[in-house]
């Protein structure tokens, strides 16, 4: 299908907690799920990755304009990969990058890792696809008759 994916290294899990080894674990899972040839890394990455701007309470701080300016670097990084989706394993990253994709009109998808794991296992139902775009919305739907 040639759908390409990149991944956001969450600051909290990677740089601030477990370091590069868990970033490798994350890539092992992501590549196993989407196929190695469909994965593109951002630069810089792993412990050296840029924060997306969703952390530290920024999402709730009321400084919308500054939050998006902060996130421009992340948006440009993602666009440079040419990926159709950015995988976000953290809620704050997910909300922020989703907003960046719309605001800066990159229109790349932003998905939770659990969504792709279940999609690859063939157990992702029709109502669990909120963050999949048209390219994957109808792929391997588990129990399509249960669509709401």
């Amino acid at each position: 299908m040639k759908v390409k994916f990149t991944v956001q290294d969450p600051c909290q899990i990677v740089r601030k907690s477990y370091g590069d080894p868990i970033a490798e674990d994350l890539r092992f899972v992501v590549k196993s799920v989407v196929g190695e040839e469909n994965f593109v890394d951002m630069a810089p990455n792993r412990s050296n990755n840029y924060c997306c701007g969703g952390g530290g309470g920024f999402l709730q701080s009321g400084h919308y304009e500054e939050r998006r300016l902060y996130g421009r670097l992340k948006d440009e990084q993602i666009k440079a990969t040419g990926a159709d989706y950015c995988i976000a394993g953290c809620h704050n990253c997910h909300a922020q990058i989703h907003d960046l994709s719309e605001h800066y009109k990159g229109h790349y998808g932003v998905v939770h890792l659990w969504t792709l794991l279940c999609l690859s296992l063939g157990i992702l139902g029709p109502n669990e696809r909120e963050y999949l775009k048209d390219d994957l919305k109808d792929v391997r739907v588990f129990h399509p008759e249960s669509a709401m």
């Binding site: 990755n49 924060c51 309470g57 920024f58 709730q60 701080s61 902060y70």
Partner: protein
């Protein structure tokens, strides 16, 4: 020559002293070489006319009043990339945290404040103010729906307060409150992996806005509530999805 020469008073900087007190390994903030590695790789550089190096210099110069006038401390996400690239490992995010803490509580950003207060008012510590009763209802309602609609998962469980489970799993309030179907994929993965896990009626909220608010007591209360419940249930591992 600049016409406006900054006068440095003799008083010690409160922020500098606080941060000095918690530096690891005999670190010293005066070791800042002003190389600019922090600022050149910081996404918050330029916001409100500041950057990490400038902010640190302000603290080193004792410009505490000026530091408290800017909102930059709320625009730094404390992501720690500045420490990662700093040759002297200077902890600027800790300085930011102390500056946030020095703001009068009521004047800190309303959104963060409100989310912290919601968490303190609910036994689940939900930043969206969801009660544990509602959480229980939503989880079980969604579970039953999926057990029926997808018979391969008729034995799938999403327990709350299951004694002796291996993992205590927290849950961001966003899913149960606004998009409950999004809870299901993780349940499925845990089910297929044969993992023994449980949510808790207390401390289930995965988010901790009191930490971001730099409200130390509130932050501690949330962590304590979750860990107490984890111990109470005899769970060996607290699994943080945040």
């Amino acid at each position: 020559m600049s016409a406006d020469v900054i006068k440095i008073g003799g008083k010690a900087s409160r922020f500098l002293d606080k941060v000095k007190g918690i530096l690891p390994d005999n670190g010293n903030l005066d070791l800042c070489l002003t190389c600019g590695m922090c600022s050149s790789g910081c996404p918050a550089t330029g916001l409100a006319g500041l950057d990490p190096r400038k902010f640190l210099r302000m603290a080193v110069l004792g410009l505490d009043d000026e530091i408290l006038k800017t909102k930059w401390a709320w625009m730094c996400t404390m992501c720690q990339r500045c420490i990662y690239v700093c040759p002297m490992k200077i902890d600027i995010p800790q300085l930011i945290f102390n500056v946030r803490n020095a703001w009068p509580r009521a004047e800190r950003p309303k959104g963060i404040l409100g989310s912290c207060d919601f968490a303190l008012k609910t036994e689940g510590c939900s930043a969206m103010g969801a009660t544990s009763e509602d959480f229980d209802f939503v989880v079980n309602d969604v579970l039953e729906e999926y057990q029926e609609a997808q018979p391969e998962f008729k034995d799938m469980q999403a327990p709350i307060d299951k004694q002796g489970a291996e993992f205590f799993l927290n849950q961001n309030s966003r899913e149960p409150v606004t998009e409950p179907d999004e809870m299901v994929p993780l349940w499925k993965i845990l089910h297929l992996a044969g993992v023994s896990w449980t949510y808790g009626s207390k401390g289930w909220g995965g988010e901790n806005y009191c930490l971001f608010l730099a409200d130390n007591d509130g932050w501690k209360h949330i962590v304590q509530t979750a860990t107490d419940q984890t111990h109470q249930l005899g769970c060996r591992t607290y699994l943080n999805t945040e």
